[in-house]
C-alpha cells in the first residue's frame, strides 16, 4: 500500500493501549442511553423519515439554499466568507482574528475546525486559542486529538484526567468528576468573559432565516457566541436546511440519536450580531462556509454521506470502532461515517484503507437517524479504492499460491497433515493463542481453532464408507 501508516498498523498500535477498552465501555453506555420514549409527541419513524427527506432535499438543491442562506445572513447584519479549502478558510479566519495582535480566541466544539487544523494555524500567528467544551479542553491540555464526535475524551479514564489537571493546571490531584468539573468551570470562566473572538461550529444553518444553530450540553456554545465582541461560525457547506421548522426536526433527531436526550441542554440559535439596543452579544457575526472536498464528495457515488447530521450513533454501534477506538482511523472523522467521508475529503490515497475497516454488518444503517445506507457507501468507496490503488494486491499472489496447493492432492494432503501435526504438538485440542509470522495478526485479537484430529476424508472412510 502506498500510504505510510495504514489503518491496520494504527489499529494494532491502539489495541496495545488501554484506550479501546475505555472506548468500548463508553460506546456501550452511549448505546444504552439512546432512546425514543414511546409517549413522546414526536413520533420516531415519521420524524426520521422527515429528517432524511429534508437533508436529501437540501443536498439536491444545495447551491440554491447556500445562496439564500448568505442573503439571509447579510440581511441580519452578518458577513459570509467562502472557503474552497482548508488553507483558504484558515487565511480568512486569520484575517478576522488578526485585526488585533495576540487575540484571545475561545472555541466551542467544531469538527470542521479540526479538519482545518485551525488551532495550530492561529497559534502560529501568535493568538491564544482555548477549547471550551470540557472534553475538547482536556484534549487540548493533553495535546491529544478527539477520539469521538460526541465524546472527545472517551479514551481517557478519570485518573488520566486527574493526573493531567494536576500537572497542567497545578491543582492537587483528584479524580472526582465533580471536582474536576468545578476546576474547569473556574479556569475557563475568565476566558469566556475576556475573549476577543468566539469561534463556533454549526450543527445546522437555516437558509430562510440566516440562523446558525449550535447544540451543547455544557453551555459553552452559548457563552462562546454571547460574550466575545466577534463571533465566527465555521460551517461545512452541507450543514444547512431550508426552513426554521426543518431545523427543529433536525435538532430533535440529533439530540435523541447522539445522547438519548429529547433536546440537548442548550440549542442555541444565532441570527446575526446583536441588534441596536441589545444589552449584550457580539458586535460582529461572520460565517465562514467551507467546501474542503465536500463538493468532490457530492459529485461521487458517496454523496449521500453528506446527509449526515454528526450524531455519532454509527460509531457507538460499530463493532470495529468499539474494538479499536477513534484514533486508529487516523482522520478527523472516524467510525463508519468517517470511513466513507474521510477518503472523499482527504487525499483519497491517505484514507484509502478505511472503507475496508468494516464487516458491513449494517448496524450503522439501522441506527442512522437519517437512514444513510452506510454499508452501500462503504462498498462504493471500496470499489473506488480497488480501482485506483488496490490495497489488497497481496490477495492475488496469495490466491495463486492456494490454487497451486489445491490442484496437487498429494501436496494438499501433506500440508493438512502438517497442520494436524502442529495441532497435536500443541496439546489436547487447545486453541492457538499466538501464531507465527504473517499469521500473527489473526491471534492478536482472537484465538485460532486447533485443526481437527483427523481430516474429513479420514473420518468418512472410517464411519461412512461402504454404507
Amino acid at each position: 500500500m502506498s500510504q505510510p501508516v495504514t489503518f491496520r498498523r494504527r489499529a494494532v498500535g491502539e489495541m496495545d493501549t488501554p484506550k479501546p477498552a475505555a472506548v468500548g465501555r463508553a460506546a456501550r453506555r452511549f448505546m444504552g442511553k439512546r432512546q425514543w420514549a414511546v409517549d413522546d409527541f414526536t413520533p420516531m419513524e415519521e420524524t426520521r423519515d422527515r429528517a432524511r427527506m429534508i437533508r436529501l432535499h437540501t443536498l439536491a438543491n444545495l447551491h440554491t439554499y447556500l445562496d439564500q442562506f448568505a442573503d439571509s445572513v447579510e440581511r441580519n447584519g452578518g458577513q459570509v466568507l467562502w472557503a474552497a479549502d482548508a488553507a483558504e478558510a484558515n487565511r480568512l479566519i486569520s484575517e478576522v482574528v488578526g485585526r488585533k495582535e495576540g487575540s484571545l480566541v475561545i472555541k466551542s466544539k467544531s469538527m470542521v475546525t479540526e479538519e482545518l487544523d485551525l488551532n495550530a494555524h492561529l497559534q502560529a500567528e501568535g493568538h491564544t486559542v482555548v477549547e471550551t467544551d470540557l472534553g475538547e479542553f482536556i484534549v487540548q491540555l493533553a495535546e491529544d486529538h478527539p477520539s469521538h464526535i460526541i465524546a472527545p475524551v472517551m479514551h481517557l479514564t478519570r485518573q488520566d484526567i486527574g493526573e493531567l489537571f494536576h500537572r497542567r493546571l497545578e491543582i492537587p490531584y483528584t479524580d472526582d468528576p465533580e471536582e474536576l468539573n468545578a476546576v474547569a468551570r473556574r479556569h475557563l470562566r475568565r476566558f469566556f468573559l475576556s475573549a476577543d473572538v468566539g469561534i463556533s461550529g454549526v450543527n445546522t444553518g437555516v437558509a430562510e432565516t440566516g440562523s446558525i444553530i449550535t447544540v451543547t450540553n455544557e453551555g459553552n456554545g452559548w457563552l462562546t457566541t454571547a460574550a466575545p465582541r466577534t463571533h465566527i461560525a465555521v460551517m461545512g457547506m452541507e450543514r444547512l436546511v431550508p426552513t426554521f421548522a426543518d431545523a427543529a426536526t433536525i435538532v430533535e433527531v440529533l439530540a435523541r440519536s447522539a445522547t438519548g436526550q429529547r433536546l440537548s441542554v442548550y440549542t442555541n440559535v444565532v441570527s446575526g450580531p446583536r441588534r441596536p439596543g441589545d444589552p449584550d452579544g457580539p458586535d460582529e457575526f461572520v460565517v465562514v462556509i467551507v467546501d474542503n472536498g465536500r463538493s468532490r464528495v457530492l459529485s461521487t457515488d458517496a454523496s449521500e454521506i453528506l446527509a449526515c447530521i454528526r450524531c455519532g450513533a454509527c460509531l457507538n454501534v460499530c463493532p470495529v470502532f468499539r474494538e479499536v477506538g477513534g484514533h486508529a482511523y487516523g482522520q478527523v472523522y472516524s467510525g463508519p461515517v468517517g470511513s466513507v467521508l474521510a477518503p472523499g475529503l482527504a487525499d483519497f490515497a491517505e484514507a484509502v484503507d478505511l472503507p475496508f475497516a468494516s464487516s458491513l454488518c449494517g448496524a450503522c444503517r439501522e441506527v442512522c437517524p437519517v437512514r444513510i445506507d452506510i454499508p452501500k457507501l462503504l462498498v462504493h468507496q471500496r470499489v473506488r479504492a480497488t480501482r485506483e490503488n488496490d490495497p489488497f494486491k497481496w490477495l492475488g499472489p496469495g490466491l495463486a499460491l492456494y490454487g497451486q496447493a489445491a490442484k496437487r492432492p498429494r501436496l494438499w494432503k501433506s500440508l493438512l497433515a502438517a497442520g494436524r501435526m502442529a495441532g497435536r504438538l500443541k496439546g489436547k485440542d487447545e486453541w492457538f493463542h499466538r501464531l507465527p509470522f504473517h499469521a500473527k495478526g489473526w491471534t492478536r485479537s482472537r484465538d485460532f481453532p486447533p485443526p481437527a484430529r483427523e481430516s474429513f476424508r479420514q473420518w468418512w472412510k472410517e464411519n461412512r464408507s461402504g454404507t
Binding site: H57, L66, A83, R189, E208, V269, G277
Partner: protein, 217 residues
C-alpha cells in the same frame, strides 16, 4: 473565494450527485397534532426529570429564597417590561437585593472589564417566550432589555414560565413561530448545564447554570 464561483462549483457537484430518491422533494410542513391536552403537567414532569426545580409560588418569594440560601445580594435580570411579573424588580430592590447592570457600556473597550464583573454571578432572572412540554425546555429569547449573559452566566437560573405559552414540542412551536430569525439569539434551554465528558459521569453546572428554577405563572 468569490460567492459566485463557490456556488458554481457546488452547482456542478449537485448536477453530478447520485443521491437516492431524486428529485428529493421537500417533505412539506409537518401537520401539528392539535388534540386538546393540558400540557402543564407534561412540562413539569419533563422539567423535573432533568433535575429542574418547579415553583408555584410568587417569583418574588422564589428569588428571595434562592438569593438567601446562597447569601447573594446581587442578581442579574432582564428589564422589568420583559418579565411577566409586575413590579418584581422594584419589590426585590425594596427587600435589599441589588440588580447588577447587564448592559454593555457604549465604549467597546469597556466590554471585557464589564463582563469580568460577572465572574461570581450567582442568580440570573429571565422569562420564557415559550416552553416545550415534551422535552421540558424553555425558550429564552434575548434582545432589547433582555441580556443573554443574565441567563447563562450565573450559577442559578430562575426563569418565569407563563403556562399559556407551553407547546407540545419544539417542532410544534416552530411550526407557528413568527419570524424566529428576527431576534439575534434564541436558546432552547433544557435543564441545568451538564457534561458527561469524564467517563460519561453526569456532572452539572460545568459552564452554564448548574441549577434551573421554573416559576409557573
Amino acid at each position: 473565494m468569490e460567492r459566485k464561483r463557490f456556488l458554481r462549483t457546488v452547482e456542478a457537484a449537485v448536477g453530478a450527485a447520485t443521491l437516492p430518491g431524486l428529485p428529493a422533494p421537500h417533505p412539506g410542513d409537518a401537520v401539528p397534532d392539535l388534540a386538546e391536552v393540558d400540557l402543564t403537567p407534561h412540562f413539569i414532569e419533563a422539567f423535573e426529570l432533568l433535575d429542574g426545580v418547579v415553583h408555584h409560588r410568587s417569583p418574588l418569594e422564589v428569588i428571595s429564597q434562592v438569593m438567601d440560601e446562597r447569601g447573594a445580594e446581587e442578581f442579574l435580570a432582564w428589564d422589568q417590561e420583559h418579565l411577566p411579573a409586575d413590579g418584581l424588580l422594584a419589590a426585590l430592590a425594596e427587600r435589599g437585593y441589588r440588580r447588577a447592570s447587564s448592559c454593555l457600556p457604549s465604549d467597546p473597550e469597556g466590554r471585557v472589564p464589564h463582563q469580568m464583573g460577572y465572574m461570581d454571578a450567582v442568580v440570573g432572572v429571565s422569562a420564557a417566550l415559550a416552553a416545550f412540554a415534551e422535552s421540558g425546555s424553555v425558550v429564552v429569547a434575548s434582545g432589547r432589555g433582555r441580556s443573554r449573559l443574565a441567563s447563562v452566566i450565573p450559577a442559578v437560573h430562575v426563569v418565569l414560565v407563563p403556562t399559556d405559552r407551553i407547546f407540545r414540542s419544539l417542532s410544534h412551536w416552530a411550526a407557528q413561530a413568527d419570524s424566529p430569525g428576527s431576534l439575534a439569539n434564541l436558546v432552547f434551554v433544557t435543564g441545568p448545564s451538564r457534561t458527561g465528558d469524564i467517563e460519561l459521569t453526569l456532572t452539572k453546572g460545568v459552564h452554564g447554570p448548574g441549577e434551573i428554577h421554573a416559576v409557573m405563572l
